[in-house]
């Protein structure tokens, strides 16, 4: 019972409270570029989750046989192989999506989340917990991507997954699309706002100020 409970907390901790994207500044490189629409965001999250779970499992299986001095190279090569398999799979079965994702699927190889999980967790844990931990991180990443992707697609073109949700003004509806949402800056603004919201709800995540201001109220 205790074991399954700790597995559950390993799985759920990275979703919000330990979110890899928002708290640890990991893996945002690719997170923002693919969020112009919901379907690319979902594909990207799924690919990343698959890669991170498989890589964590494999590395955890051979963790006793990896010499410590070359462990980074071994990990990167395992991750890169997983990424190549995923990329080839997408090209074979979802060609159009893989064209729109362009180089970003390949860039999962340098995504800090994957290397971070294998380096800090899978390297010294048993396969099952490391895969659960990797799954949690992948889902946490996917959650942020899905949120931002949904916002950008909904407000940028009034669609969700390609279906018109908000009727456009030029087609007789009321919604005028915000073209800013389809451009690069909006992703920064949305993610910044998301970080702000999460850190206001859970203040323990906030960074300490570089130079704490003098509190005048205490002196009075």
């Amino acid at each position: 019972m205790a074991a399954s409970e700790s597995l559950w907390s390993t799985l759920t901790a990275p979703l919000i409270r330990q979110n890899p994207v928002m708290l640890q500044i990991l893996g945002i490189c690719s997170a923002l570029a693919v969020t112009t629409s919901l379907d690319t965001a979902l594909t990207m999250s799924a690919s990343l989750t698959v890669v991170v779970v498989m890589a964590a499992g494999v590395i955890s299986l051979i963790r006793r046989h990896i010499p410590n001095s070359i462990r980074l190279i071994v990990q990167i090569i395992i991750i890169a192989s997983m990424v190549i398999v995923t990329d080839q799979f997408l090209k074979a079965y979802f060609f159009e999506l893989s064209q729109r994702l362009s180089v970003f699927v390949s860039l999962i190889a340098t995504n800090c989340i994957v290397l971070g999980r294998t380096e800090s967790y899978a390297r010294n844990h048993r396969p099952l917990p490391s895969m659960v931990d990797a799954l949690g991180s992948g889902l946490g990443y996917g959650l942020v991507l899905t949120l931002i992707g949904a916002c950008r697609e909904l407000f940028g073109s009034g669609k969700l997954l390609g279906h018109q949700v908000l009727p456009l003004a030029e087609q007789g509806g009321w919604f005028t699309p915000l073209s800013l949402m389809l451009m690069a800056p909006s992703a920064f603004f949305l993610l910044g706002g998301l970080v702000w919201a999460v850190r206001s709800i859970w203040p323990e995540q906030a960074d300490a100020p570089d130079f704490p201001p003098h509190d005048l109220r205490e002196e009075r």
Partner: protein
């Protein structure tokens, strides 16, 4: 020549790595607290990209591209699926070599930006540069210009963000916005500024 100049400007400004393609954001945000560390990082990235992108172009065109083995009588061989692993290997080797050379011959420069070099092995912007180079079919000269240009663009952006953030250290921000939050908003505004370069290029 004019084409190469235009390519340099395009790589540095219009297609700025962190601000329009979101590449290399992890280091972009994590190491931009102060302008001097940001400058060291930018310099390191420019050097590594300037070396690794043309090198990868040579390897891709000579060994990995479809039909590259035609001279050996094997035109049907297509090794392009290996490019990802090769590029990562080449970048890691470049970084390692550069670090050793700098440490041996230019210890002062090594002291100023050598600490960032190991980080660059898994930097998305550098790998992304090589992948874009393949996708857009650059030749060797174009690859070299593109590598240096996008490295310089990254350096410019990261130094600017570092300068703004060091000023903001004295500002009294809302608690939730401190650090990462405000860095994202700043990057967004800089990205808004850089998107006007795209308009200039279009005209």
């Amino acid at each position: 020549m004019a084409d190469l100049g235009a390519l340099f400007l395009r790589a540095a400004f219009v297609e700025n790595m962190p601000l329009t393609y979101f590449l290399g954001l992890c280091t972009f945000l994590a190491l931009s607290r102060r302008p001097d560390t940001a400058f060291g990082l930018g310099l390191a990235i420019t050097v590594v990209m300037g070396v690794s992108v043309p090198l990868n172009q040579l390897i891709y065109a000579g060994i990995l591209a479809p039909g590259a083995w035609r001279w050996a009588g094997m035109p049907e061989i297509d090794l392009s699926y290996l490019s990802l692993i090769t590029f990562i290997g080449v970048i890691a080797a470049t970084v390692q070599l550069l670090e050793m050379v700098l440490e041996r011959f230019m210890p002062r420069i090594h002291a100023s930006f050598g600490v960032f070099l190991p980080l660059l092995t898994v930097q998305c912007a550098i790998l992304g540069g090589s992948l874009f180079m393949v996708e857009r079919r650059y030749d060797l000269a174009e690859a070299a210009v593109y590598g240096v240009g996008s490295g310089a663009g990254f350096a410019l952006a990261v130094v600017m963000l570092g300068a703004i953030r060091s000023r903001l250290a004295y500002a009294d921000l809302p608690a939730g916005l401190r650090g990462l939050g405000i860095a994202f908003l700043l990057a967004g505004m800089m990205s808004l500024g850089f998107s006007s370069f795209a308009q200039m290029a279009a005209q």
